[in-house]
Amino acid sequence: MTLDVRMPIGVFFVLVGGLLAIYGAVTLHDPGASPTGVPIDLVWGGVLLAFGVVMVLLALRARRRAQPPGAGNRLPVRGNR
């Protein structure tokens, strides 16, 4: 088994969070862009982006720990508890 589930989840949320945050920043002053008055796309995009980054970092850390010294760039086993 060669896939740490945190990596695709992390990358997904980095992309979605980034997309939302950029869209939120671009449409910040558009009428109707935030029906509740809260710039929610920008704020929540940032939250998703941060979550995605944390997941990617956790997956990378697990990959480093799973590699014996000098083992090259092999992918980790799935037992990332």
Binding site: M1, T2, L3, V5, P8, I9, V11, F12, F13, L15, V16, L19, L20, Y23, G24, T27, P31, G32, A33, S34, P35, T36, G37, V38, I40, D41, W44, G45, V47, L48, F51, R78, G79, N80, R81
Partner: protein, 603 residues
């Protein structure tokens, strides 16, 4: 109908690409049937835990619990704090050692090991049938909702969603389903959390929501706190919106239905069986219980808020503006104005709002959460919310299909059609069963669309079959004297008793038919839920008693054959954990403590 912007489509397409990508990445890791059906028993507890929870997060959960939140208020949390958590703790501590330790590959296979072939066959056939029809009902609900809210084609919606689920299960088997369920879990959390935040902000927080719901409760003839207290009005069925008294609730929901589902349904148990150790398998439902107890805030609160919130001034979806049935009128008049953002239920023929016997407009509670989403989310976040909805439909469907392909291949095909074939043959059959399961689900979705009451009818049959199951498992695991003949007779008698009780009773205001009363009328219940809970109690008690009586009259299996299958004849599992706080019993104590706290806070 709501206009969906390009950014919303981009988020949805990104999601579809990732779920398919996970399937493609995992394709090479599926070499044996155990890899395909049981993930090679190699997944860590936190992943199986979130998948255990997510497999249950289907359409009925996200849309249905929002609907119940609007209809019953915070009392809906009983489905979590009484109707799920105790059972999840019980299976983790007491039942998982038998499921995992027996090396059974499915729940029906455990029944074969513990009882006999006919009990396994009965359970396998009923379970396989139920899962594909459940999957079809979920698909139908999704297609209907997307057509109603967004005007999307019903056919295209269900075919695309089914195609995506088929692709990632076909490629990566159970592992792919589990990994995607973890992604779906986070999507649902991140998709609905801002909805609760924005909704609560709009109604003035919990104090504001309580005040508004107090007005709604009074208008419906209840005490002001009836929608915001979970236990305070449970002393009598007439005093709470659920229409159930505490005994029926605790016994019917908290014991029979809850334990019957969480402790015996292979759909969720399969996730724990994929864990990489006995301890991980036992921790799976306990880890799932932690977020599960907080889910009322994510899925019930939106319904409660939708009932009383005032829509924002600039909104993408004016209240009650939904796509009508073909040929029906669209306008909802002021006289039939919705409550909050919950639209009235429209007559499919005329397009006019439906009214109850007292002339009040009947609300379409199923649209409570989706309408809140359309009203409060701007473009961008709407894409995330819609993706979360799609994820919930897909995870529910994938859970059903992976359970179906396993039970079909191991418990029916390998047992009755072609035993003794090479492993590669069963792996191929698993993939064929996945395609067949999806195809039957699509067909079931069209059947559900064609017949008005088919969904009610199917769910009724499921309830009849599920309700007595926990009695069979409880006796099988904890009473060594229980026999195969006893278990089989108990299951059949329990199912029949459920049908008879349902046929002799009716919820108040309902007409004879799929709601009951078709064998005569001996009892009337204040609500449909009360009738369901008491039907479950009757089924369980009947199965329990018949199993005992028939077991006592038949010859038991020798004790050595039951080692590893029955409590008392099995060594207690030893926990392989690094720290004391990782032990299942400690986790269980924390889960139960927090659940009691939540019940006290919302008492």
């Amino acid at each position: 109908m709501t206009h969906v912007a390009g950014i919303d489509y981009a988020v949805m397409l990104l999601y579809a690409a990732f779920v398919l990508g996970i399937g493609v990445l995992l394709r090479r890791s599926v070499r044996t049937s155990e890899d395909f059906f049981l993930s090679g028993r190699s997944i860590p507890a936190w992943v199986t835990g979130l998948a255990f929870l997510s497999a249950n997060l289907g359409a009925q959960e996200v849309i249905g619990m929002g609907a119940s939140g609007a209809k019953y208020g915070i009392a809906t949390s009983h489905f979590y704090w009484i109707g799920a958590i105790p059972a999840m703790v019980f299976i983790g501590l007491f039942m998982m050692p038998f499921y995992y330790g027996s090396r059974a590959r499915s729940v029906p296979e455990y029944l074969k090991l513990r009882f006999d072939e006919k009990t396994r066959g009965l359970n396998a056939v009923s379970f396989a049938t139920m899962t594909v029809f459940s999957s079809g009902i979920s698909l139908y609900a999704m297609g209907k909702l997307l057509h109603l809210l967004l005007g999307w084609s019903f056919d295209a919606s269900i075919l695309v969603a089914a195609g995506v689920v088929l692709a990632y299960i076909f490629l990566g088997g159970l592992t792919s389903a589990i990994y995607n369920e973890v992604l779906q879990f986070f999507l649902i959390v991140f998709g609905f959390a801002p909805l609760v935040f924005l909704g609560l902000r709009a109604v003035g927080g919990w104090p504001g929501l309580s005040a508004r719901l107090a007005t709604a409760a009074t208008a419906n003839g209840f005490a002001p706190g009836a929608y915001t207290h979970s236990w305070a009005f449970m002393d009598h069925a007439a005093r709470n919106p659920v229409g159930v008294e505490w005994f029926g609730l605790v016994m019917g929901l908290g014991f029979v239905l809850s334990f019957g589902y969480w402790c015996t349904d292979f759909l969720v148990v399969q996730r724990a069986m994929a864990a990489n150790s006995m301890t991980a398998a036992r921790r799976t439902p306990l880890i799932a219980a932690l977020p599960k107890m907080l889910f009322p805030f994510l899925v019930i609160f939106p319904g409660m808020i939708a009932l009383v919130v005032t829509p924002p001034a600039t909104t993408r979806a004016p209240s009650a503006q939904v796509a009508p049935a073909p040929g029906a009128a669209v306008t909802v008049t002021a006289a039939a104005a919705p409550a909050g953002v919950v639209p009235p239920k429209l007559d499919p023929r005329t397009g006019a709002p439906l009214r109850d016997a007292r002339g009040r407009v009947v609300l379409d509670y199923d649209l409570a959460t989706p309408m809140l989403l359309l009203n409060f989310f701007p473009a961008g976040l709407l894409g995330l919310g819609l993706t979360a909805l799609l994820a919930s439909f897909m995870s529910g469907m994938a859970g059903n299909v992976t359970a179906f392909n396993t039970v079909w291949t191991y418990d029916l095909y390998q047992s009755y059609v072609r035993p003794g074939a090479p492993d590669a043959h069963y792996l191929a059959m698993g993939r064929i069963a996945t395609v067949a399961g999806i195809a039957i689900s699509i067909a079931a979705a069209y059947v559900a669309a064609s017949f008005n009451n088919i969904m009610d009818f199917l769910q009724l049959v499921f309830a009849f079959v599920n309700a007595p199951l926990f009695a069979t498992f409880a006796l099988g695991m904890f009473w060594k004297r229980a026999t195969g003949h006893g278990a089989f007779a108990g299951l059949v008698a329990g199912t029949l008793a459920a049908a008879v009780h349902h046929g002799l009773s009716l919820p108040a205001g309902a007409s004879v038919g799929v709601k009951g009363g078709y064998l005569g009328l001996l009892a009337t219940f204040p609500s449909e839920l009360a009738q369901t809970f008491w039907t479950a109690i009757v089924a369980w008690v009947t199965c329990f008693l018949v199993t005992i009586l028939v077991s006592l009259a038949t010859r038991p299996r020798p004790e050595p054959e039951l080692a590893g299958l029955v409590y008392g004849l099995t060594d207690k599992p030893r926990d392989a954990v690094a720290h004391w706080f990782e032990r299942p019993v400690v986790l269980a104590a924390v889960v139960l403590g927090l659940t009691v706290l939540l019940n006290v806070v919302f008492f």
